[in-house]
Symmetry: C2
Subunit: 220 residues, 2 copies
């Protein structure tokens, strides 16, 4: 087998003009993502204009369309960024071996509540927001949003399997089913908390769900 051509096409041309900066390092792009997350978690996709984001980010329109193909492409980038951030939050709680499995889930919900409180419960979950807007969104969002939720659920399934192995949750329920139920309900709780501008729905759902799946503590 003769090496007719280099296998790294990126290596063959010395690239003439100004080199492209690292895909994510661009300051303008980062500012846009940050401003986009702030606005879309609060108001959703349809009712937020690009100009609004440009103004908040202090970035001109030329830069926006240089870094993104359009609003939809930007939206998908926001979903990816949100997923990346949120997944690390989940892992930080779920993989913390200092606590028992169920305590980790509780801690996650408490931190999530604190996060919402930080913005007066006006910002919700980007995935929930866009999911609700699917009827008005380009269809590519559907698979993206579903995949994100499945990722969070997979992590939750592992946590609940551990809890079940340790006997702290009910044995007759599939951990994967419980994890799915948790995320279905949790998204509902975030929606409701945003509607009522208070933490009660988050606590209500977390408390009840956890109490229901816990094995009896024989607490008098």
């Amino acid at each position: 087998m003769t090496q007719t051509a280099p296998l790294q096409p990126a290596n063959q041309k010395p690239r003439r003009g100004r080199p492209r900066g690292a895909p994510d390092a661009s300051e303008a792009r980062q500012k846009l993502i940050r401003a986009g997350l702030e606005h879309l978690t609060e108001k959703g996709y349809s009712s937020v204009g690009i100009d609004e984001i440009l103004k908040a980010a202090g970035v001109p329109k030329g830069s926006f369309y240089h870094h993104f193909h359009g609003k939809a492409d930007f939206g998908l980038a926001l979903v990816a960024a949100y997923d990346a951030y949120f997944t690390t939050q989940i892992d930080r709680a779920f993989l913390d071996e200092k606590h028992a499995p169920l305590d980790r889930l509780r801690i996650f919900t408490e931190r999530a509540e604190a996060g919402m409180a930080r913005h007066g419960f006006r910002r919700g979950c980007l995935v929930g927001n866009l999911g609700q807007e699917m009827g008005a969104l380009p269809d590519e969002f559907r698979a993206a949003l579903t995949a994100v939720l499945e990722g969070w659920q997979a992590r939750t399934t592992r946590l609940l399997s551990l809890a079940q192995a340790q006997g702290t949750i009910v044995p007759h329920h599939d951990p994967s089913t419980l994890a799915e139920t948790f995320w279905i309900g949790w998204e509902g709780a975030v929606l409701r908390a945003k509607l009522e501008l208070r933490p009660d729905p988050l606590r209500r759902f977390a408390d009840t769900f956890l109490r229901l799946i816990e094995t009896e503590t024989t607490d008098t």
Copy 2:
């Protein structure tokens, strides 16, 4: 106390010109409400234009602004209409004494699923949709939407109290708490079903919730 003036002001003037039709009987108004519900349950408030609704309803703009003060007023009318419709559906299931209390809840979820299936799972719950959009809605919607949910919950509380009195659900949980948890989660399930375009999330949540609150059937 002398009766200085008639207590029914509607009775004192014979009213000259064309009489106002019954507030709800107006055909144009009904068509607008119907078209509005179809569009808003699918795409939400922000991304549906008034012209779009006019076209679907076959009603000119003059009629719209004759019957409603503006888009927000129209939206609130839709919430009221949706609540009226949905409440009768709930009562029809929850007050049916042919079935045991928990069976009535199950029947309700199954009918709701059938309702969503009828439109290919593209239409969600109007209250959930608008709740998610609160960040972009006039603030009057907040109280309206919250009140609607509380109404549905109150009915569910009565049902679960009955179930508890009959010993078919766990005794250590407040029916009101369980009802709230149900609606928090159910809204999440509807959102998820709309996102995935399939009934699975509805079934998943209903099944798991019901199994968790049921007292042991000692099933084998």
